[in-house]
């Protein structure tokens, strides 16, 4: 009996160590290569870490402000993802309040109708969405990425679900004291739903930051695009393995912001999903 448990323990460890290594080495390799010179990469071939650490790749990448303005791209991404996230938090908390704590005719029917429609595969609305963004004059502007995502139902579903766990007595006693819906929303409910809002904010931020297909479609102006779309251009600019270090240092620069966010908010990323599966299970 005791022996059996030990074997499964060692198998678990072995599996976790092997998988973690496979998952970690590419990142180390990418970082290492970003600090190697082109001559070293070509002459010495594969190495996980550089023989001579150089920062020249980063300097060159940051100095290239014409064909691949990576700082501009990073700033675009930061502006887009931050603005999008703030608006998401406002929209989902207000809308979630409406669907969970206000009483009006057809409320749940309306909510579930919108939810059902939102499950419709969004590949179908891709091309007309571009046309709408074009009509609004938002092609090559940050709004093309900031606004459309606010229409989604997933986060509103989570917030509504979370709000349903808050006793209605709180609202009722506040109402007796003369509070209106906006006061109840901002003074009572908003502070209580902080955990779920943080979770939705983190996923909105990383989702917006990492979005690829949509920015590739709506940005043609090199100055205006976010960094994920910019990296696609780099394959041509630093590509064909002529400037490997620059290619890698650009990739590393692009992933630093989300990694910083993760290390500051790690517990929320993980609790996030607890909340998710709690609903489903």
């Amino acid at each position: 009996m005791r022996k059996k448990i030990s074997i499964s323990k060692y198998i678990s460890y072995l599996f976790l160590i092997v998988v973690s290594a496979i998952w970690t080495i590419p990142v180390i390799f990418g970082i290492g290569t970003s600090f190697r010179s082109q001559t070293e990469v070509v002459n010495e071939g594969f190495r996980l870490l550089p023989v001579n650490w150089i920062v020249e790749n980063y300097v060159k990448v940051l100095e290239n402000t014409s064909t691949a303005p990576i700082l501009q791209w990073l700033w675009n991404s930061v502006f887009i993802a931050t603005t999008h996230t703030l608006l998401v938090v406002i929209v989902i908390s207000i809308t979630g309040y409406g669907y969970s704590r206000m009483k009006f005719k057809g409320r749940d029917l309306l909510f579930f109708t919108l939810l059902a429609i939102s499950f419709f595969p969004n590949v179908v609305n891709l091309i007309p969405s571009y046309k709408i963004i074009d009509i609004l004059g938002w092609v090559n502007t940050p709004w093309a990425m900031i606004v459309p995502g606010l229409a989604g139902m997933g986060n509103i579903f989570l917030v509504r679900q979370f709000m349903k766990g808050i006793p209605m007595e709180l609202d009722e006693s506040a109402r007796v004291d003369g509070a209106n819906d906006f006061t109840i929303y901002s003074r009572i409910i908003l502070p209580l739903i902080r955990p779920v809002l943080i979770v939705c904010a983190l996923f909105s931020f990383t989702g917006s930051w990492n979005d690829f297909l949509w920015p590739v479609i709506v940005y043609t102006d090199v100055e205006k695009m976010p960094v994920t779309a910019g990296l696609l251009l780099l394959q041509d600019i630093y590509g064909n393995y002529r400037m490997i270090g620059q290619l890698m240092s650009s990739a590393i620069l692009a992933i630093i912001p989300t990694l910083i966010l993760f290390f500051f908010a790690q517990k929320y990323f993980v609790s996030a999903i607890n909340l998710n599966s709690g609903i489903k299970g």
């Binding site: 891709l126 007309p128 571009y130 606004v147 229409a151 139902m153 990694l259």
Partner: protein
């Protein structure tokens, strides 16, 4: 008072409804409408009835027909190759992490979760180098002679590797939470009855996380049908369009530099959407009935 009660909800749910109509409802309906038209994204669409669908599905002389069939074949191949790995690997990791004697759970989880936060284009740049013939890890370490991204089946392998590497974090945490929620008593009484680890996994763990499994299967599959970035960046759809997926054709037809063929692209998008809907519904039905 009566009035106030009637109008307040409009301020709370109204703004989102406008967003929903403009950015989800109208484009979805218009996307279906456009699939029955000849449209170049600029002029008004011209109604052509079922012509686009006839061309795509039945006209074997048309390039749209061969593009659609090739794109659908490659997309399905991607789904079939990637989805099982995106379920089984995170499930095995979650089971290992939830093993009661395993330590350093958070360290392992962080190492495995972080690649999922890397944008797919950055991940593809790093992995392209790893698979590079002269300079990469794979050929140097394992002495393989393959030119990975331009010969089959290696081109598919590179795409699947990047996908799995970047795509397991979410499912891993969902499964961990699910397994964590299973009562310890169940395992203990099974141990008293002499059940081994494998038996416990199939008799207790799997049935207990039925809902997370259905959810992740449906969502992972639907996501996989929308694959675009990995083949675009790893193989450019090659060799000989052998990894060109449907999303790449749809984007090229609607948004490439020549005149847009958005009507045809919309018809392909509707067909892809139908495939996703049918398969999601089938998966949900099959799993909730059998599990």
């Amino acid at each position: 008072m009566q009035n106030k009660r009637n109008f307040a909800p409009i301020f709370f749910v109204g703004p989102h409804i406008i967003l929903f109509i403009v950015f989800i409802l109208i484009p979805s309906i218009y996307g279906i409408y456009a699939s029955f038209t000849k449209w170049n994204l600029v002029a008004d669409p011209v109604w052509v009835g079922l012509d686009n669908y006839k061309t795509i599905l039945a006209d074997s002389d048309s390039t749209f027909n061969s593009q659609f069939l090739n794109g659908l074949k490659n997309t399905l191949l991607f789904v079939v190759l990637s989805v099982p790995l995106m379920i089984i690997i995170p499930l095995m990791i979650a089971v290992s992490l939830e093993h009661k004697e395993v330590k350093l759970k958070n360290l392992f989880q962080t190492l495995l979760y972080v690649p999922g936060l890397i944008s797919i284009s950055a991940a593809a740049l790093i992995w392209s180098l790893i698979f590079n013939k002269q300079l990469g890890i794979v050929n140097n370490l394992f002495g393989s002679e393959a030119v990975w991204t331009t010969t089959q089946p290696y081109a598919w392998i590179t795409i699947i590797v990047v996908t799995v590497w970047a795509g397991i974090g979410g499912n891993m945490i969902i499964y961990r939470a699910g397994i964590n929620g299973v009562s310890r008593d169940l395992y203990e009484s099974a141990e008293i009855d002499g059940a081994g680890s494998i038996r416990k996994f199939f008799s207790i763990t799997l049935p207990s996380i039925k809902f997370p499994l259905i959810y992740t299967l449906v969502m992972t599959t639907a996501g996989a049908f929308n694959v675009f970035a990995q083949p675009l960046m790893m193989t450019s759809g090659g060799p000989r369009q052998g990894t060109t997926v449907l999303m790449m054709y749809i984007r090229d037809l609607a948004f490439s530099h020549g005149e847009s063929i958005a009507g045809m692209a919309s018809a392909m998008a509707v067909l892809l959407g139908l495939v996703i809907l049918v398969i999601s519904a089938f998966q949900y039905y099959a799993m909730s009935r059998n599990a």
